[in-house]
Symmetry: C2
Subunit: 209 residues, 2 copies
Amino acid sequence: MTATERRTQAQRREGTIGALLEATVTCLTERGYAATSTAAVCAEAGVSQGALFRHFPTRQALLVATAEHVATRNVAAFRATTGGAAVDSVDDVADVLAHLRQAVLSPTNQTWRELLVAARADADLREALLPAREVLHTQMRDVAADLWGDRLSADDLPAVLSIVVNMLDGLAFSALDPDPAAAPGRTVERALRLLAELIVHRYPEQEPR
Amino acid sequence: MTATERRTQAQRREGTIGALLEATVTCLTERGYAATSTAAVCAEAGVSQGALFRHFPTRQALLVATAEHVATRNVAAFRATTGGAAVDSVDDVADVLAHLRQAVLSPTNQTWRELLVAARADADLREALLPAREVLHTQMRDVAADLWGDRLSADDLPAVLSIVVNMLDGLAFSALDPDPAAAPGRTVERALRLLAELIVHRYPEQEPR
DNA sequence: CCGCTTAGAGAGCAAGCGCTCACTATCTAT
DNA sequence: ATAGATAGTGAGCGCTTGCTCTCTAAGCGG
């Protein structure tokens, strides 16, 4: 009946671990941190609680593993969509910002944000997430440097990065409706356009003053 | 011994309700949403659980009342510090942004943010928070209009507002360390300066193009 | 002073939580 | 084939949660 039955131990292991991580991601995005109980994750993954606690000694370990599993994925995805894109005109930069907005609003990034918020109230989790945070941080710095490193000064680059990602993160937080269809009007588009102008105007050739 | 003993029923009522709201604020800011249990709030307020559930039918009712209690306070405080301030030069606007940053990072605003995040995973709470959200939103729009209404176009004003408050909110979320002393360097100052330049450059007289 | 209503106390309950443990199923090395 | 290791099950334990309920304390109108 069932097609592939015979699996090595390592395959079984990786299979359920992967299922658990994926289940944790979906639970976090659509239920939030508090409601992501071990029972809920196991139900979502189609696995018993014993299986979970065989591979992860504690709930927090599962969450940290999920964080690390998810942290760098979006940076890679964003790099893939904007690799080698031009950033000369305001329209070019606005394009990049639109892609970045999509990346920030993606479910995996939503997962990451949920964990960051929970870490604020939980010192242990905060410490456990620190390495992943640093990895993500340097990756974003690298992406920014690849995009604008030779156009913006060493002072402006981190400042622009801070403005853009914090603004998009804040946007993701204040957009309460979980479904992404609820469009908040064209204000956001206008805002991103202004940011694109800000960035291009900092280019040395056409610095406004 | 004890000085003022005789209190009318209304005084007693308002006293414990106020204590409960204050206790909820401090619990939310220093423990987070999940750990703000009714027991914790009662302990912080020096009141029994029975007292809490006499005045608030449910935990959520307490949280919503706290949200409404806190929502408009910061707008008023911000208005007080920047009332009638000049916004002509880049320095003027940077000053206003610095004050706004202080307001956004304040404990009561932290409380508000905690509730907003929790509302994302809880449909009931989301709906209950909606009126307060709208009040806050129009108040912020009014403040922005008072500050920059006659300098920025009707298109730019909401966009600028979105950039600034979302950026500061995102900053508050990603600054994980609960103590405000952990300075992330001068990047934020630089970022706010760039935003101030962006705003002033949108003034019609000196529009760059 | 006395009946009535409201404020407050605090033990206790059902439900859900993270996690354990005794057990079975499956793979692997001899 | 068989023994040992690893993967997976699911009942259940101790604990915390939001909330209820009974009871006492206190203000109020007559």
